[in-house]
Symmetry: C2
Subunit: 129 residues, 2 copies
């Protein structure tokens, strides 16, 4: 379970449309990009430029927006790893890490049902839970 600040943030962002747990989850991660950033974080990427280099070529403005949203939902933390210019390292919180099983389930569905989808990069063991 998350700490109280994270819980408060999650409460504010979800429960917008209904109290259904599927709708509430989709209020947070229901878009084309957010779970790709979670995927990258789960595989150990931490920096802006690393997310940018992923195959999907995420637009910079979308990346910046989704990182902000993930942080305010309490799913990632941001800490400077250098000054002048300041650069941040992003990491999944405990709650953020718990999205790993959703990403894995999505990968499984894609592999089984979409012709041409490859296996998830690296072995499943390399996902940091």
């Amino acid at each position: 379970m998350a700490n109280s600040r994270e819980l408060e943030a999650l409460r504010k962002i979800s429960l917008k449309r209904s109290a259904c747990p599927v709708a509430s989850t989709l209020d947070i991660i229901g878009d084309k990009w957010t779970l790709l950033i979670v995927r990258d974080l789960a595989f150990g990427k931490t920096r802006y430029n690393e997310f940018r280099r992923s195959d999907e070529d995420i637009p910079t403005n979308v990346l910046a927006d989704r990182l902000r949203r993930l942080e305010s939902a309490g799913l990632i933390t941001r800490k400077p790893y250098q000054e002048k210019p300041v650069r941040y390292a992003y990491r999944l919180t405990k709650t953020g890490k718990s999205l790993g099983s959703l990403v894995a389930e999505m990968a499984k569905w894609g592999q089984m049902n979409i012709p041409g989808a490859r296996r998830l990069s690296g072995s499943d063991d390399s996902v940091q839970r």
Copy 2:
């Protein structure tokens, strides 16, 4: 596995951004509404007005668009159940039904992590797999 028409449709719609199975799946169901319709279908709803009556109050234009997209992705079928005016019943295909585990995983995450999210309507046993 799906039939060849469904496979062809899925191939066309996904694999847009990369061959990653997560990205490919998100190309199909990565939005705030699609999985809510899948949830309703999994619980036995089949008609436009039934989807409209769900708590989230889906806008009619969004509902019509997502039903069209789900059909062209081979995840649902549409069959008339009355004439004059013609009305359609929507049902999950075999591939569509396989999204059930993703919806269940999402419900589980919401219930565990979002304070105030209720249990998924009905017992989990009532989901038609």
